[in-house]
């Protein structure tokens, strides 16, 4: 029996040599039903073309390194099974809406900067000494922010976001979801410090509520909800008499 194969078309781009990205096609053995797109890339790199560049590490959907466009949809390549595409070819491209550094490697410095601007740490008016022990937190209080704490910074939501595609000043889905994660944490008192950024010129009001961010999130985070909730909260703060509190 002839060996089953699958065609992978991958973006190649070397800024030292190429003026524009191009697709290169590889036919590789589709030897095991359990193979994912990342396995195919690893096969190519180990056995066909050592120069193909991409990021990956945990191959279990938690490190967030291996996001790519797979047949036009942003996905973690470690969790995109070849059997769902075969016998059609699989086209693998760098995530949309980001500059390309090399092949499938995108430039995500912009997000790293934005992450810092939302102050993603617990802000307290007064630090509690360690000797006082832990803050008490009920399961209901955890459930308030839990889903927003599941973000793995994989950038799929930015890649799916039409607003970020047009205007990369937009703070974007993951950063706003993470700001909400801290704002909703019962241990945090930093809402007023974060508001100028998340409700500023490039914050929540830029979102046109397409909701694609929540559709593509591999971890079940709903950034669109975070954005809408924050819009509502922000409005209430300024319209209701009791709203303008810390």
């Amino acid at each position: 029996m002839a060996e089953k194969t699958i065609t992978i078309k991958a973006t190649r781009f070397d800024p030292d040599k190429d003026s524009a990205p191009r697709l290169q096609s590889y036919d590789i053995p589709f030897a095991d039903d359990a193979m994912v797109v990342l396995d195919a890339l690893n096969y190519i790199k180990a056995h066909v073309d050592g120069s193909l560049s991409y990021r990956w590490s945990c191959r279990m959907g938690i490190c967030g390194s291996c996001g790519m466009m797979v047949n036009g949809t942003p996905k973690l390549s470690c969790s995109a099974f070849l059997r769902d595409y075969w016998p059609r070819p699989v086209t693998v491209q760098p995530l949309n809406n980001f500059p390309i550094i090399r092949d499938l490697v995108i430039d995500m410095e912009d997000f790293m900067h934005k992450l810092k601007t939302i102050q993603p740490w617990i802000i307290r008016k007064q630090e509690v000494p360690l000797g006082a022990g832990e803050h008490r937190q009920t399961n209901a209080q955890i459930d308030e922010f839990k889903q927003f704490s599941q973000c793995i910074n994989c950038m799929l939501c930015y890649s799916a976001c039409p607003v970020y595609g047009l205007n990369n000043e937009f703070l974007g889905p993951a950063a706003i979801a993470l700001a909400r994660r801290y704002n909703l944490d019962s241990r945090d008192e930093g809402l007023t410090k974060r508001l100028p950024v998340i409700a500023g010129d490039e914050g929540i009001w830029e979102c046109s509520f397409v909701g694609e961010c929540s559709v593509v999130c591999p971890k079940g985070v709903d950034p669109a909800k975070a954005i809408q909730q924050t819009k509502l909260d922000t409005t209430l703060r300024f319209t209701l008499p009791f709203g303008n509190r810390d």
Partner: protein, 591 residues
């Protein structure tokens, strides 16, 4: 006056980057996982006036801490005690742990977990709102604190995001350290390849902390991510520091066949059963008093023994056992093991609420590592090590599950403080020898890899052979014959490595070059594993010799320390050092 740190371009620089910005720190952390970030924060908090660099070959939140699942151990509950945690850890180590280190560790661990709580870690809670705990293998009471079954993920993101508030911490993301700078028997920084630009930089520091994680990728079947390639161990080893207890490699009982993805021990902690093909909970024949909560080394051996007796299941990806949580019910699974349900669905196509999970032993953790003391200091002045890449003497022959996240915090913080204190009195680094070292190292890498012609060996092929050979020769059970064969195989692979061919000539994000540098490191550390394993003619902890099945305290209640003989001779030189015993006399290890 601060030293004129030479961020000078190496051979690969564009001319305009030759006189770049000065990069020189008081403390430089290599690695951006839990231990590294904790070290960076501790250094700054110890002395807010110092500057701290943090260099990582991936963005810090990609570090392999992210894959830790089950929890972090600390004696936080009133019914627990330091002494119990210490005893469990020492017994778990098969008495190869240094007991003074363990005793210090158990006292610090609760403080560190509270610190994580104050920084926002979303710990799972008891009904009274306190941090919850679950049972774990080898622990005699509930002391494993957890954030569902994504504890490492939450701890890493918490500590990374917290680190962003410290302006003194300056990061070098996606930079690969190729060499430690050593001048007058003192570590004074590193040479690093900036992956994006392809430029070599010398980054100087008064103190350097290695926190680069494990080396699981020397094996084929491992839970470890692609980045776990023993970099820090190889860097230290080449700089003359010993690697301690490298024969002690942990095999976790429950990895998914094919991928090696970790199924957390918390599955058993929460009450899951491990069954063979006859439906028997076979651990009754191995650890009858502990059953599924036995320590990892013993359970992994039990599984392999059952496989050999023909009592394993046969699957498309080899033998396996069933890990069964169906009796726990959907509600418990969704609250306490949601990620396991997600992994089952995603990677096996099963719902663990209704079907058992196929599992088999898988390389998971390295007890061995850079020889470091209780504050992370190594024998090289100015060099510290913490986390999995270090061996401070905590884990001995077998680490108990959930001690390693706590270890990263406790010894990350200790090394950060110690490095900050040392840096505040150490004299500045002079730039002239550093410039020369940078030039030499850039030339070495260029000649050995990028400019090399006539090579005919593929990195991928050599790496796969090494991994296969290590699985076969240095796995759960070892023999003299197997280890000797492996020594020869690794020697052959080293020879072939000298003839590798790099197809990628680009300076920009050349992952074939970094893969070659990693393979070079892995071949180096593999040799220390095999040599140390061959020399330890007993069975202790994770090191099980079929030809020496018993523990031999008379001869081997000692640490193995492996030293490099230099690039010309791949065989490490071995020394032995007594284990420090304080309050717990070695006894038979029965569960």
């Amino acid at each position: 006056m601060s030293s004129r740190g030479p961020r000078r371009g190496g051979q690969f620089s564009a001319p305009d980057s030759i006189d770049g910005q000065v990069e020189s720190y008081d403390v430089l952390v290599v690695g951006g996982g839990l231990a590294g970030i904790r070290a960076a924060i501790a250094a700054v908090e110890a002395n807010p006036r110092i500057t701290v660099g943090m260099i990582s070959k991936v963005y810090p939140m990609r570090s392999h801490t992210v894959s830790a699942e089950g929890g972090a151990a600390a004696a936080l509950r009133p019914e627990d005690s330091y002494e119990n945690h210490a005893f469990d850890t020492i017994k778990g180590s098969d008495y190869l742990a240094d007991q003074d280190v363990v005793e210090a560790f158990v006292r610090e661990a609760p403080i560190e977990l509270i610190q994580m709580e104050h920084w926002g870690c979303p710990w799972s809670r008891d009904p009274d709102g306190k941090i919850s705990a679950r049972p774990f293998g080898g622990m005699t009471t509930w002391r494993t604190c957890f954030a569902a079954d994504k504890t490492g993920f939450h701890m890493l993101h918490t500590v990374f995001q917290t680190s962003l508030k410290y302006e003194q911490i300056h990061r070098h993301d996606e930079a690969f350290v190729t060499k430690l700078l050593v001048e007058d028997s003192r570590c004074v920084g590193v040479i690093a390849l900036d992956q994006r630009s392809g430029r070599f930089d010398a980054i100087t520091a008064k103190a350097v902390i290695l926190a680069t994680g494990g080396l699981g990728r020397v094996y084929a079947f491992t839970t470890n991510g692609n980045i776990c390639t023993g970099d820090g161990m190889a860097l230290g080893y080449r700089a003359g520091v010993g690697l301690k207890d490298m024969e002690m490699v942990q095999f976790h009982p429950t990895g998914l066949p094919f991928t090696g993805i970790l199924i957390t021990e918390a599955v058993r902690g929460e009450g899951g059963y491990l069954t063979n093909k006859n439906g028997d909970r076979f651990l009754k024949d191995y650890v009858p008093n502990k059953m599924e909560l036995g320590p990892r080394d013993i359970i992994s051996r039990a599984m392999v023994t059952e496989f050999e007796a023909g009592r394993g299941f046969e699957g498309p990806h080899g033998k396996y056992m069933n890990l069964d949580v169906r009796h726990l019910g959907e509600e418990v699974i969704d609250r306490k093991l949601p990620f396991m349900r997600e992994l089952g669905r995603e990677f096996v196509g099963i719902d663990i609420v209704h079907e058992p999970i196929p599992v088999r032993p898988v390389q998971h953790y390295m007890m061995g590592g850079v020889d470091a003391d209780i504050s992370g200091a190594t024998t090289l002045l100015g060099l510290y090590a913490a986390g999995e890449c270090a061996n401070v003497g905590l884990n001995g022959g077998n680490r108990l599950g959930s001690n390693s996240l706590s270890e990263c915090l406790v010894f990350g913080a200790a090394s950060g403080r110690a490095a900050a204190e040392y840096a505040s009195t150490a004299k500045a680094v002079t730039s002239n020898p550093v410039d020369a070292m940078l030039w030499d190292e850039a030339r070495r890498v260029e000649a050995a890899y990028l400019e090399k012609t006539g090579g005919d060996e593929k990195i991928g092929t050599i790496r796969e052979e090494m991994q296969r050979d290590m699985d076969a020769g240095a796995g759960v059970f070892r023999t003299k014959e197997g280890l000797e064969k492996l020594t020869d195989q690794l020697g052959g692979l080293r020879d072939r490595f000298e003839r590798i061919k790099i197809e990628d000539s680009s300076r920009t994000f050349n992952t074939e070059l970094t893969a070659a540098l990693e393979l070079d490191f892995m071949l180096e550390v593999s040799q220390t594993i095999v040599a140390s394993a061959l020399a330890r003619e007993e069975s202790r902890g994770a090191h099980a010799r079929r030809d020496f099945p018993d523990r031999n305290d008379e001869k081997y209640l000692k640490h193995t320390v492996a030293f490099s003989r230099g690039p010309e001779d791949p065989r490490p030189r071995l020394e032995y050092r007594d284990v420090r015993i304080t309050n717990f006399k070695p006894q038979a290890r029965v569960y």
